[in-house]
């Protein structure tokens, strides 16, 4: 007699997983901003060229800026102003060198299924809120740790119950984050 055939046996293989989604980080915003600045510089140069050539009426802006700066000497306020400019430049360097942001966690699956850490926190808060004795629950998460804060009617056993519920809700994650539970009772709140 042959073995019974389950759905999993007859199901065709799933698609291979694609790479985990990764955000571009702040450089994805700074890059286009610099492009807009470069475009503005180009427009300014073309305008000044047309004004100088007499094609467009008006006064050129670059010579006006240079005239305004002429005769400027060292001044105390230039020190903090230069320091601010240095800080802006350092921020740009940090943005350029920062790795792409990975804020998702894979789930145990044949194909690539991913959950954002923000959604891990929502699931954890939802699981904690369903536990008997929990009045209110909130959670925050990173790729390694989930912190759940609950307020309950009594502290006895509540931490264990919430930890168990959250761990169970997040069991589908390929690498389960550590669960940390903070319990606040009405006595502590008041």
């Amino acid at each position: 007699m042959s073995a019974p055939v389950s759905d999993a046996d007859v199901r065709p293989p799933s698609m291979r997983p694609a790479a985990a989604p990764a955000g571009s980080g702040p450089v994805g915003v700074v890059g286009p901003l610099l492009a807009v600045l470069l475009l503005a510089l180009g427009v300014l140069l073309v305008r000044d060229a047309l004004v100088t050539a007499g094609t467009v009426s008006g006064s050129a802006w670059l010579p006006a800026v240079v005239d305004g700066l002429r005769g400027t000497g060292p001044a105390g306020w230039l020190v903090p102003a230069g320091a601010v400019v240095v800080l802006v430049g350092l921020w740009l360097v940090v943005v350029a060198l920062r790795p792409r942001s990975r804020r998702t966690l894979p789930l145990t699956s044949d194909t690539g299924v991913f959950l954002h850490v923000r959604d891990v926190a929502r699931l954890a808060a939802g699981a904690a809120g369903d536990v008997d004795g929990v009045l209110d629950a909130s959670a925050s998460a990173t790729r390694r740790k989930v912190t759940v804060t609950v307020s309950g009617t009594a502290a006895a056993g509540l931490r264990e119950d919430v930890t168990e519920a959250v761990t169970e809700r997040l069991a589908a994650l390929a690498s389960a984050p550590r669960v940390s539970v903070l319990v606040r009772t009405p006595e502590e709140s008041s």
């Binding site: 698609m15 005769g71 400019v85 299924v113």
Partner: protein
């Protein structure tokens, strides 16, 4: 955003950052009177004669115009590089020949797959798109699940849906990515009278 565009952004942002750091340090050092200690010929006051001479030269309008056009074109190309263009058109199917060409719009099949996934208990909605990433065809499905959803059941449904889609597309080189989002609040259940 493709990796090459992000790489371009990184290189140009790094260059801009280093330039800004150098400019800021020079301004602060000049303002504090320390620049002359490292550069004896540092100006006591700004004269900017080179710039003034350039503005009055006959070649200035041509040079400024050419530089401006090049800068504007580069900026436009840089901006347009950020516009995603990785959508996939019709895919050829086996059986195409002299009598005709068989093709499949993968977005239609992927949309049906998303609809099937959306019918899974605990899944509120789902949508999909087919894109090309690093030379591979990728079906990217986004689904919103209820905060109370059974994730394991949703994953099983996602695996089944992509398996069916693989058969429909008839291609082994296709990859899948299912992004699950969790709704802020659970949807109220309808009261049964």
């Amino acid at each position: 955003m493709s990796r090459s565009v992000v790489g371009l952004d990184r290189v140009l942002t790094l260059l801009a950052g280093l330039l800004v750091v150098a400019a800021g340090a020079a301004v602060a050092a000049w303002g504090g009177g320390w620049l002359v200690q490292v550069w004896a010929a540092a100006p006591r006051t700004l004269q900017l004669r080179t710039a003034s001479d350039a503005f009055s030269a006959s070649w200035w309008p041509w040079a400024a115009g050419a530089a401006g056009v090049v800068a504007a074109l580069l900026a436009l190309w840089w901006l347009l590089a950020h516009v995603p263009r990785n959508r996939v058109g019709d895919l050829p199917l086996r059986g195409s020949g002299r009598g005709g060409r068989l093709a499949l719009d993968p977005s239609g099949a992927a949309a049906t797959a998303a609809d099937v996934l959306a019918a899974t208990p605990g899944v509120r909605s789902a949508s999909s798109r087919v894109v090309r990433e690093r030379g591979s065809l990728v079906v990217d499905v986004s689904a919103t699940v209820e905060p109370t959803a059974d994730l394991t059941a949703v994953v099983v449904a996602a695996d089944a849906v992509t398996a069916d889609l693989r058969q429909v597309l008839g291609r082994d080189d296709t990859r899948a990515r299912v992004r699950l989002g969790v709704a802020r609040r659970a949807r109220r259940q309808r009261r049964v009278s």
